[in-house]
């Protein structure tokens, strides 16, 4: 391999800067500090509405000023909460193996929820989701290389509504080993879900050591925190279960029209949940996040494919990075009703934007029709998009071997690099290999049926559903899960 290098220098050098990846900078540290200071002032001067009595007591004991339901938080306390919350939360797979690192700027993508319809992956029909659809979502996520966690992708309508959280959890738990983000309606459901998780992990201690699920707790938005919401936070903190405290804001409606103002409200909102959890149990793993959009005045609706979703989402990601709090964001959705270019554009742009922002846990992949319809086919396309994103943001390694001076000299002007050992060494991993993007010649593509991306992705989705076998849970564990659900359904 003499041609691989020219000379090897024994002299090491100093002061050489390297960018390991693309650097995407929006808010500077100083701007983040400015926003954070405004948040602290807001919490201290205006305060927030806290509608949970236990929470108010905890806040007052810690030094907050409580007037009725209005709680004003001293800056030092809010700052302490941001610093005390752990900078890293590691989610594991169902077997307790470390899987997803929510820290620094690692980004992970997954499906969304909150949709009222799904597109049937076999017939394309737009219909209400059933429990089998949640199971199908888990199977598909389990098979996709670039999707790292699961969400329901639509709540089932064929189960008892009060126990829907549990059915979702069961369907996800039994069809994938990937980490689960689980929404809970109230503490009752949170308890049953915890029981189910403990049945799988073996004990609460084991679950705490290697958590494979997080609670998704939605703040109520605009600085009012309801009784039930904070009860869930208290429950999660007391049991040492990581949770996401998540706010949703509409610029110009439930938040100021300016992104900076919206970020102030959002950060103030989530810090209330962070503070409560740290006061209940210092060191509770918490993930914070926000989902932002605007009002589309022409159509009187909230768009999720709008560029503002990622713009403000990136701002929130920057802020949470500044505070070293693991972050939860949103990307991969579209306002289109069908699988067309608009869907592709909005899905890809938002995912790239949020991937560049360094937001840790990014939900929402596969939502069409401004979040109303979940599509597994769109999720499969999203998996391909993540592959491209990872290549785009990867950066270029510059070192002696990759500079290939010796190889270039050996190949000589006009020569080809095709037969070089250097090429052989790198060609498989240096280039991105598509799985559903078509690069076929027109003749081959026509002979294969002239299929669009949507059709190819549909075939891949159907193939996964037909052939993929996720790891099964033991029968006795499955029985325990059933038992917990039945008991809960009787009680709820």
């Amino acid at each position: 391999m003499e041609s691989m290098h020219t000379t090897r220098s024994n002299f090491t050098r100093a002061s050489f800067d390297v960018n390991q990846t693309i650097h995407w900078e929006m808010l500077s540290d100083d701007q983040c500090e400015e926003i954070f200071m405004t948040v602290l002032e807001l919490l201290e001067r205006t305060g927030v509405e806290v509608l949970n009595e236990e929470a108010r007591e905890v806040f007052e004991k810690a030094g907050c000023w409580v007037d009725g339901t209005r709680v004003r938080i001293p800056s030092a306390l809010a700052e302490w909460a941001a610093r005390t919350a752990p900078s890293r939360v590691t989610l594991c797979d169902r077997n307790g193996k470390r899987a997803v690192r929510l820290e620094t700027t690692y980004s992970y993508f997954g499906p969304g929820q909150g949709n009222f319809f799904v597109l049937d992956p076999h017939t394309g029909e737009r219909r209400k989701p059933v429990k089998d659809d949640v199971a199908a979502t888990a199977v598909v996520c389990d098979a996709l290389k670039n999707i790292d966690f699961v969400l329901s992708n639509g709540y089932p309508t064929d189960v008892k509504e009060a126990a829907a959280d549990l059915h979702v959890f069961e369907a996800l738990l039994t069809n994938t080993t990937k980490p689960i983000v689980q929404y809970v309606h109230s503490v009752k459901q949170a308890q049953a879900i915890l029981d189910m998780a403990v049945a799988v992990a073996g004990s609460l201690k084991e679950l705490n050591k290697n958590p494979f699920f997080v609670y998704l707790i939605d703040a109520d938005g605009t600085l009012v925190h309801s009784d039930e919401t904070l009860a869930k936070v208290i429950f999660a903190a007391k049991n040492g279960v990581p949770f996401i405290y998540h706010t949703k804001l509409v610029l110009g409606d439930t938040a100021p029209a300016t992104p900076a103002g919206a970020l102030v409200v959002a950060l103030a909102d989530v810090l209330v949940g962070v503070l409560l959890s740290q006061l209940i149990r210092q060191g509770t793993p918490v993930i914070a996040g926000g989902i932002f959009t605007i009002r589309d005045e022409e159509n009187n609706m909230l768009p999720w494919g709008a560029p503002e979703v990622s713009l403000v989402g990136t701002g929130m990601g920057n802020l949470l990075r500044y505070l070293r709090i693991p972050s939860f964001g949103f990307a991969g959705a579209s306002d289109s009703k069908i699988s067309d270019a608009q869907m592709g554009l909005e899905e890809a742009f938002s995912m790239l934007h949020m991937g560049l922002s360094g937001t840790n846990l990014i939900q929402g992949c596969g939502l069409l029709e401004y979040g109303l319809t979940g599509s597994l086919v769109m999720l499969v396309i999203g998996d391909e998009i993540v592959g491209m994103i990872r290549k785009i943001i990867k950066g270029i390694e510059v070192n002696e071997e990759r500079l290939a001076r010796g190889v270039i000299d050996a190949v000589q002007p006009g020569g080809t690099y095709l037969g070089e050992e250097h090429t052989l060494k790198y060609f498989r991993k240096e280039f991105w290999w598509p799985t559903i993007m078509s690069r076929a010649r027109i003749k081959d593509w026509t002979e294969a049926g002239s299929k669009s991306l949507g059709q190819r992705a549909t075939e891949k989705t159907q193939s996964i559903l037909q052939t993929h076998q996720p790891e099964k849970l033991a029968d006795d564990v499955l029985a325990k899960l059933r038992e917990i659900i039945e008991k809960a359904e009787a009680a709820l």
Partner: protein, 209 residues
């Protein structure tokens, strides 16, 4: 003791040094030189060809395997009479007059050699007369013309016509290059067209079978 199968495996895995070493060992051990070539080196390349067609191996891997094979052949060549050297056929390649592009043509040549063809590459910017003179000199079974520019591809027709006039119509003429198509190949009276280097090899094999 090295076997012919070991040699094939070295070729398949593109291990140039090992292929050379095993070739020498087998020759020193008294194995018939033609057997070393056919059952060791070429046999390995045939497996590579199949895997390449199946999409399990790719051009860079094929090229390194070809390197291993050809360096093995260089060691055995002196021991065989030239007439006994196995060859899948002789192909003459060139880029037409007025056209200086040759990367594609070069790749075709390399791929053909890796599959056992003897390749004579006369280079770029060759007139119909230069093609015909080269054909008379080297007597290939197939001649291939490459063009990248739409302005130069018309020379292909002139070359094929000149070949026929000079009584060389028995030599198969194939064409390739970005602006070329099957329709164009039919128009100019070519015997074949291939869209890329890999299919060019298949085309040559089928023309001579």
């Amino acid at each position: 003791m090295a076997t012919l199968e070991d040699l094939s495996k070295a070729v398949i895995s593109g291990n140039v040094a090992k292929a050379k070493k095993l070739t020498q060992e087998l020759v020193d051990a008294g194995v018939a030189p033609l057997d070393v070539i056919n059952q060791g080196l070429i046999a390995g390349m045939n497996v590579v060809g199949v895997r390449f067609k199946n999409g399990e191996m790719f051009v860079p891997e094929v090229m390194v395997a070809a390197k291993a094979m050809s360096q093995g052949i260089e060691l055995v060549k002196p021991l065989i009479a030239e007439t006994d050297m196995p060859s899948a056929g002789k192909v003459l390649l060139g880029t037409v007059k007025g056209d200086l592009h040759d990367i594609g043509k070069n790749l075709v040549g390399i791929m053909l050699e890796s599959r056992g063809f003897t390749v004579i590459d006369i280079g770029i910017d060759k007139s119909p007369e230069e093609f015909v003179n080269a054909i008379k000199e080297h007597q290939p079974q197939i001649m291939g013309m490459s063009a990248l520019l739409t302005t130069t591809m018309l020379h292909m027709k002139d070359t094929i016509e000149l070949m026929k006039e000079e009584g060389l119509g028995h030599v198969k003429a194939i064409v390739g290059g970005a602006p070329i198509s099957q329709d164009f190949a039919d128009e100019v009276g070519a015997d074949g067209y291939a869209p890329d280097a890999a299919s060019a090899v298949d085309l040559c094999k089928s023309l001579l079978s």
